[in-house]
């Protein structure tokens, strides 16, 4: 199995510790922006209602409120929200994304304003073509506005622990009988492949039987390729049992 590792931005602290941000893909960003567009449309409808009320007193002022209000909402929406919510808009919150400084520093208002004002060029010639292509080809998945403002859009880390007792109950685990190999396995398994295995085990009852066999075979092959356990530790284990034992090794030590 080949798990495509998402693009990441790593930062090394002066203490020598390295942490990384998972960069948002153009597709996720587009989805977040479509939610934001819907929010802007709602905001504009609200302005329209206010304008209707004002129109009862003065039609000219009501039209001016509409024109200026629509414009202000479309420009100010993302700037204000990203500033007040530390890099998030409604769409980004829903999709678990956050705008961050490329050096991991605090996001500043000029950066937020710049990245949003430069949308006008990222949107050219239609449907964010310039921004989308730049995002696909740039090293840190940045559109032009992000490059100018030194920002990235990262996926927020969700750190919920799986219920290991449900997916891999504490029984005798032949892999744990090999503590050095178990430790090695824990050190080389990527969070993404572990999460994939957890998801596969959690949803296993819903799969087509044949698909289930194929899926667990691929997962088991992937984990076997990382660490070779001796034959006596893995004999009589089906692929699915092997994957569940691996999960117990990865998550079981922590209670």
């Amino acid at each position: 199995m080949t798990a495509a590792r998402p693009s990441r931005l790593s930062i090394e602290t002066p203490e020598g510790v390295v942490f990384s941000f998972e960069l948002a893909t153009p597709v996720t960003r587009a989805l977040a922006w479509s939610v934001d567009t819907a929010a802007i449309v709602l905001g504009n409808m609200l302005v329209g209602q206010i304008a209707k009320l004002v129109a009862k007193m003065n039609t000219d002022v009501a039209n001016a409120v509409s024109v200026a209000g629509f414009f202000a909402i479309s420009i100010v929406y993302a700037i204000v929200l990203e500033w007040r919510w530390r890099g998030q808009t409604i769409g980004k919150r829903l999709l678990g994304l956050r705008v961050m400084d490329v050096h991991g520093l605090r996001l500043e208002l000029p950066q937020i304003a710049l990245r949003n004002l430069l949308r006008v060029i990222d949107m050219l010639p239609f449907f964010y073509l310039v921004g989308g292509l730049t995002c696909v080809f740039s090293r840190n998945a940045q559109r032009l506005g992000d490059m100018a403002a030194n920002t990235i859009v990262a996926r927020e880390r969700t750190t919920e622990m799986p219920d290991i007792e449900q997916i891999a109950p504490a029984k005798y685990n032949s892999l744990l009988a090999q503590p050095h190999l178990a430790a090695r396995l824990r050190s080389v398994v990527t969070p993404e492949s572990a999460a994939l295995a957890v998801r596969a085990v959690t949803l296993r009852e819903g799969y087509d039987p044949l698909a289930r066999i194929v899926l667990f075979r691929e997962l088991a092959e992937h984990f076997r390729s990382l660490v070779q356990f001796p034959d006596e530790a893995v004999e009589n284990l089906t692929d699915e049992q092997y994957v569940r034992s691996v999960l117990r090794v990865i998550y079981g030590a922590r209670r």
């Binding site: 942490f19 039609t59 414009f71 000029p110 304003a113 060029i121 490059m147 969070p191």
Partner: protein, 326 residues
């Protein structure tokens, strides 16, 4: 070496939870200033968590635990290593920050003026040499009539044609001009080529209109019509051009030893100040254009309009040239 991961996690978890609570408190109330004791504690917790992350990095680890700790250290890093003051809205700083930013990049403004003047010269010469080019050079229907016809119409009009729509017209002008300014700035990302084209094109239109009216002997009408709003609107668009060239300069970075991200980081506050200032100027210009510029003799004498425009231009020059000088 971490011999027992479970024991390590159990021993460290209270510190991680304390750090998380401290960071969430800062997220909820960004304006709050930490006490010295809180800062010291934050630093201690950050160092401790970083050390824990380093140990997880070196030895066998549970990916979820690593992810949790990595996320915590990343958030704490942002707070610990940020040396810039949190930006607060202070009107005095905003009012003085704009002219200061403008003066820091006078070269880019001069370039912006130079390109526009070149465009004006081109438009002027084009109209003087080939009057038929008017249809191509002037994109607005209202400008295609002969100046004499237009001036006659404006000076003999019996009723206010903007009656009941002045506020709307004003809002339309503001939004359109702000869009033009933002696009002119944003085009700096094309290494200044887009900014240059837009400024030149604006200059061509301006030069063509000026040539058309002055050649027909209506220079006073033209000045009275354009100066009240143009004395603010045109500099605002030139400021957009200045922003575009600042951006382009940071992208190109001739002769400097700093990296492109460093250069872009350095100019961001100035670009923000300039585009914000230009937008405020265009709100004013939109009101003046709708409520004053469209009224001509005998409603408002040209001398008064020109004097008003000259006063605005002088005030703007004084503000941009001298406000906040140290």
């Amino acid at each position: 070496m971490i011999v027992d991961m479970a024991r390590f996690a159990a021993a460290e978890r209270p510190y991680w939870d304390e750090l998380r609570a401290l960071l969430e408190g800062m997220d909820t109330d960004p304006e709050r200033r930490l006490t010295l004791a809180e800062i010291q504690r934050l630093h201690y917790l950050y160092e401790r968590s970083s050390a824990g992350l380093a140990r997880l990095d070196t030895f066998s680890t549970d990916p979820a635990l690593r992810g949790t700790l990595e996320s915590l250290v990343a958030r704490a890093y942002t707070e610990i290593h940020e040396t810039r003051e949190p930006r607060k809205i202070r009107w005095k700083a905003i009012l003085l920050g704009f002219p200061r930013a403008f003066r820091r990049h006078l070269g880019a403004f001069r370039l912006s003026v130079g390109i526009t003047v070149l465009g004006c010269a081109f438009g002027w010469l084009a109209i003087r040499m080939d009057p038929h080019s008017k249809a191509v050079l002037m994109p607005f229907q209202g400008l295609l009539n002969s100046p004499a016809e237009r001036v006659h119409q404006e000076e003999t009009v019996s009723k206010d044609r903007l009656s009941g729509s002045k506020a709307t017209f004003s809002a339309e002008l503001m939004t359109h001009n702000i869009q033009v300014t933002v696009v002119t700035l944003a085009m700096g990302m094309t290494f200044g080529v887009g900014t240059l084209i837009l400024l030149f094109y604006n200059g061509v239109i301006l030069g063509a209109v000026a040539a058309d009216y002055i050649a027909a002997g209506f220079g006073t009408f033209l000045t009275g019509w354009l100066l009240p709003h143009g004395s603010v609107e045109i500099p605002a668009i030139l400021l957009g051009g200045q922003g575009g060239f600042i951006l382009a300069g940071a992208l190109i970075g001739w002769g400097g030893s700093t990296t492109r991200p460093e250069r872009l980081r350095a100019i961001a506050p100035d670009l923000f100040a300039i585009v914000g200032g230009a937008a405020a100027m265009l709100v004013w210009a939109g009101m003046v254009e709708a409520f004053i510029s469209q009224y001509h003799k005998p409603v408002i004498p040209y001398g008064l309009k020109i004097a008003f425009g000259a006063c605005e231009l002088t005030a703007l020059s004084l503000y941009l040239g001298w406000a906040g000088r140290e």
